[in-house]
């Protein structure tokens, strides 16, 4: 698939379909790929596609478009990236005509944190994918050893519940369309819903307490494109910026609500978080609510109106509380 991607990139530059391509290049460490922008056919060899390509490239679409006015933008998109691009087009942040989407069928992204936890701090020095196995050469303070793991056990949770691995929007598609997995997408959310409010509170308190307010979640999110984020408004300062629980909690809750009906649950925020905060329980719950309340799944169709920009007489109103 990587060869095919590079061939396509060369062709697109040569026939003038694109002036640049937003893709991934090899990272500087094992199991990393880094977002990159290439500007000529000669650079096509830099492009990679593998299970480490965990950033959502749609996040780069707006800054790259702004920095390169009038240019035609190529972008590599897995399923979730493509749905984010659909969202950005719907929200009129970018014109469909300006972008060329190289869709790539995705089999899931590796959850590096899960792998690190399983290795108990041992450093991964080399990694090699062999079919459904991943062979790792590791070192910790005492030993140097090789480990072989099943890739399937370390797929990121955003991907193991993903129903749209094949890009919904593409101008060319690499790889075979994926068959939707027959899984209960909301198993984890239902488990949380079945808990008492106190238990859920305790869980979210323990997760949010890890937050260091670095805003990597915001930076990684294709829908956090506000020119001024609510948390940065300081005249007046609406939101506290400390690591106290009330401040971190309100930041994450408001952010989650702000992307409700827009978030495609790509998991890029959770993968970006250096502290491993479980952000996806929030985003997945909101996705479920949007689906149940409005029958809406974000990022599927450019023409479909977003629930929060429309009003129907029979919209659910149970949540509207009468004043006393």
């Amino acid at each position: 698939m990587e060869d095919q991607l590079r061939d396509i990139a060369v062709k697109l530059f040569k026939d003038g379909s694109v002036d640049l391509i937003i893709g991934y290049e090899a990272g500087t460490l094992p199991l990393r790929a880094a977002p990159c922008v290439i500007k000529s056919a000669e650079e096509a060899d830099r492009l990679v596609w593998n299970m480490n390509c965990g950033s959502n490239l749609a996040t780069y679409l707006l800054p790259v478009a702004e920095a390169n006015p009038e240019k035609k933008l190529g972008i590599l998109a897995k399923g979730c990236d493509s749905r984010s691009i659909v969202g950005l087009i719907k929200e009129r942040q970018i014109e469909r005509e300006r972008i060329f989407v190289i869709g790539v069928s995705c089999s899931g992204i590796l959850d590096r944190r899960k792998l690190d936890n399983a290795l108990n701090g041992a450093e991964i020095l080399e990694a090699q994918f062999n079919g459904d196995k991943l062979t790792l050469k590791c070192e910790n303070v005492e030993t140097r050893h090789a480990v072989s793991v099943h890739v399937a056990d370390y797929i990121h949770s955003s991907c193991s519940t993903c129903q749209h691995k094949t890009p919904v929007l593409h101008d060319i598609l690499i790889g075979e369309p994926d068959v939707e997995a027959d899984v209960n997408v909301y198993e984890h959310v239902e488990a949380l819903e079945s808990q008492s409010a106190d238990e859920r509170w305790e869980y979210f308190v323990s997760e949010m307490s890890k937050c260091i307010r670095c805003y990597a979640c915001r930076g990684a999110c294709p829908f956090c494109y506000c020119n001024e984020c609510f948390v940065d408004q300081n005249q007046p300062q609406w939101f506290g910026k400390t690591n106290e629980l009330s401040d971190t909690m309100i930041f994450h809750l408001v952010r989650a609500f702000h992307v409700a009906g827009r978030c495609v649950n790509c998991g890029a925020c959770a993968r970006a978080c250096p502290m491993g905060v479980d952000l996806m329980s929030l985003t997945k719950k909101i996705e479920k609510d949007m689906n149940e309340l409005y029958g809406y799944i974000a990022g599927m169709d450019i023409e479909e109106l977003a629930p929060f920009t429309t009003f129907e007489e029979d919209d659910p109103q149970e949540f509207i509380v009468e004043p006393d």
Binding site: C214, C229, T242
Partner: protein, 340 residues
């Protein structure tokens, strides 16, 4: 000073003794990561680790700190600094890169030009017991920026893990005093230490061949083309700065509790974030990730050198490991160093 041997079984009793006079801060396991925390018991301490994710600088420079509390009444306004009610800190098991960061932070916060009372009151009387890096990680590059895996900088005592025992290298009088009752290291122990040091140093290849040249390139490179590409993948978060042992920028906030009382606090800030240089007028001289990435690199590898004759980076590699988009500072400085 005489090098001593401390059997590993002696560490527990030593920590318990130290706890009588200091608040002892040591690596413990929290939420799956190792971090420096105040310990209640020596049993919590984990000394088999590469390095912590969060940095020990927060002991002296916490992410948030109340500067003063005010209250207003008919008789006037009263302003009080909250007292620091804690024993002096003793940090145990600090890696040489992090210990060196304390020396660099001292230059910033405790100089002739500027005395930061909040930093100094936490730093004063603090002791640092280091732990040599016998197996540096692939992301470590302390030797490139003037440090080393067995360096003493910023420490009172350095421990070298020889297996069942530590070789203790006193650096200050306090370090010597602390180890006075322990037996002297034999020649064989010292040779073993020398071999380990050599191996550890050998693991780390220099990232940049000529550091002076890097500084010079940056002197004239503020408007250079290389900044146009280096920042592209940056998503403008503060992971690199908040996990950095030497970053030291902060912002000041006011919190009002009611009409007549409140407090002022300072919080870590980051040159990667949009508010960092935003002027009251609304103008931001660093409007995009390009200017923000440039600022971070310039501060560490140029301005800091101008001000203090040291690089503002200790090569711990945390930003390399944790950057969500793998924007590798080693890659950045080596590209700048070879640029024309």
């Amino acid at each position: 000073m005489e090098e001593k041997i401390i059997d590993k079984s002696e560490i527990g009793p030593l920590l318990s003794k130290l706890k009588e006079s200091y608040q002892v801060i040591a690596p413990v396991r929290r939420d799956g990561d190792i971090s420096f925390e105040r310990i209640d018991s020596a049993d919590e301490v984990v000394l088999e680790f590469s390095n912590t994710k969060k940095v020990p600088k927060s002991v002296f420079f916490p992410q948030e700190e109340v500067m003063f509390v005010y209250s207003r009444s008919e008789s006037g306004t009263e302003i009080k600094e909250p007292p620091l009610e804690q024993a002096a800190s003793l940090l145990f098991g600090v890696r040489p890169c992090d210990a060196r960061s304390f020396s660099l932070l001292d230059m910033v916060f405790d100089s002739e030009d500027y005395k930061d009372i909040y930093y100094i009151r936490r730093r004063e009387g603090a002791k640092v017991i280091g732990l040599a890096c016998t197996s540096p990680r692939q992301t470590c590059f302390c030797t490139t920026v003037g440090g080393g895996p067995f360096n003493h900088d910023g420490m009172d005592l350095l421990l070298v893990d020889l297996g069942g025992k530590y070789l203790a290298e006193p650096v200050t009088d306090y370090g010597e005093e602390l180890t006075e009752d322990f037996p002297a290291a034999a020649d064989a122990d010292k040779q073993k230490r020398d071999q380990m040091r050599e191996n550890a140093e050998k693991c780390m290849k220099p990232i940049v061949a000529d550091l002076d040249d890097l500084k010079n390139k940056l002197d004239t490179g503020f408007e250079s083309d290389f900044w146009d590409e280096l920042h592209t993948k940056c998503i403008g978060c503060a992971t690199c700065t908040y996990l950095c042992p030497t970053c030291h920028c902060f912002d000041i906030y006011e919190e009002e509790e009611d009409n007549n009382s409140g407090y002022r606090l300072r919080l870590w800030d980051s040159c990667s974030l949009p508010l960092f240089t935003l002027h009251t007028s609304g103008h931001n001289p660093r409007p995009s990730t390009k200017e923000r990435v440039r600022q971070r690199i310039m501060h560490k590898f140029n301005y800091f050198v101008t001000n203090f004759n040291e690089f503002g980076c200790v090569g711990c590699g945390r930003c390399v490991q944790n950057c969500p988009v793998n924007l590798d500072i080693r890659d950045v400085i080596s590209k700048i160093a070879v640029s024309s």
